[in-house]
Symmetry: C2
Subunit: 250 residues, 2 copies
């Protein structure tokens, strides 16, 4: 397996060591080699190294220390603005202010981000994806001056790892793969697929730390609460409209 794929783990603590501009450029070039819709490259990457901007981004990521500690923070944004401006300059009418192009540009953005993540790792760096990006997308738009036609999708922090955690477990492959067509899950299969994870030491520790009787409740009651999920849905959908990705009536 490609070594960076095989050895990937999220790194959340970094050495106090800058990344050379050559390596940063290499990571960004790798991002730009990913497939994109019609080779339109409908994304922008905000590469933040300034401590001041990282300080402003930090609360957008719930003040997780890694944002200020990482020498490089890459915010990956779906971007139909650049392409639309070009169309307008060429007397071509851009119609990208809609949900289809939110999806297309989001796909472009995430294939680029994964290339960047792997290329960073190939250069001895560690990365962590920050799901908080969509929780606070509106604030991130303010901090990074994102205009209409641009919306943040994900963020990775990048730096030299302070340590190398164990690989995290995955569900057995049969949990996520369906041959030819989707075969729906039975309760029996669900039990079997989660058996190893639920009986692991890691889970035991988590249950103790969260004072819960099972792992699923750690997710629904502690990590991602129902009310928060709905609030985030509303706020992200609002910012989607505000940034111009949902302009027609649907």
């Amino acid at each position: 397996m490609i070594p960076q794929i095989e050895k990937h783990r999220s790194i959340r603590e970094f050495l106090n060591k800058d990344i050379s501009s050559d390596i940063i450029e290499q990571i960004l070039l790798a991002a730009s080699r990913a497939s994109t819709t019609g080779n339109m490259q409908l994304y922008s990457i905000i590469a933040t190294t300034s401590q001041e901007v990282k300080e402003s981004l930090s609360p957008c990521h719930f003040n997780q220390p890694m944002v200020k500690q990482a020498p490089l923070v890459l915010t990956f944004c779906a971007d139909v603005r650049r392409f639309s401006m070009w169309c307008e300059l060429r007397d071509a009418k851009p119609v990208y202010d809609n949900f289809a192009w939110f999806i297309n540009s989001t796909i472009d953005t995430l294939l680029a981000s994964q290339n960047a993540a792997l290329e960073a790792e190939a250069n001895g760096l560690g990365i962590c994806y920050l799901g908080t990006t969509i929780y606070t997308a509106s604030k991130i738009c303010d901090v990074l001056n994102l205009p209409k036609g641009v919306i943040p999708i994900t963020t990775i922090v990048v730096g030299y790892p302070k340590s190398t955690p164990e690989l995290t477990s995955r569900l057995p492959l049969e949990a996520v793969v369906h041959y030819d067509t989707y075969k729906d899950y039975t309760p029996q299969l669900i039990e079997k697929l989660w058996e190893e994870r639920e009986s692991s030491e890691e889970t035991k520790n988590l249950l103790e730390a969260n004072n819960r009787s099972n792992l699923a409740q750690v997710f629904t009651e502690d990590r991602y609460k129902g009310g928060d999920n709905i609030a985030i849905s509303k706020s992200y959908f609002d910012i989607l409209k505000k940034q111009g990705f949902f302009n027609q009536e649907q």
Copy 2:
């Protein structure tokens, strides 16, 4: 640069040669090593090798010959169903039927798809992403029996390349990268960023083939027409609701 990233080009013609089940498994395992939201693995991969199912998928991808020709078609779907079923079995209330978790699961799905694409290439295979997946998502749900909580995001066709096309060009890196914060584009900068592409031989051939006076119009008038964009937006948003990713009022 990671060789598969550096040498990636889309492959649209394949040899009539099957992929061994070992290699298919390796590709799927690579997909499963990607980062996911809270390690929840909110995706399913439909790995289609049956000629019959490929025939049924073919019209969903506008009958592009590569769908029937490729030995392996991987449809990557956002999937909150499996995780929700597990929660329900554990007396934990899943609240993933909303837009936030559409985005989270879409992110999971696309990081996995890019790992799969690169791992396929590392095994001597070629791939092509099919953007048609979102155009015809409703039909794809039917063909692949996708239940509520599951929605197709992208597809890659995989096979041994019949030939190796040239690498495609990219905009200069400065087109897609912003340091620290977003710097908006000026018309002068847009002109400069597209200069090389617009004056290329490839563009000249495209303009002739499409009988257009500039490249932007090939995109707006031939490839992705405004009316089509809006129709796809509506249909994908409808299927999003139907598959249960937009259940609350927003």
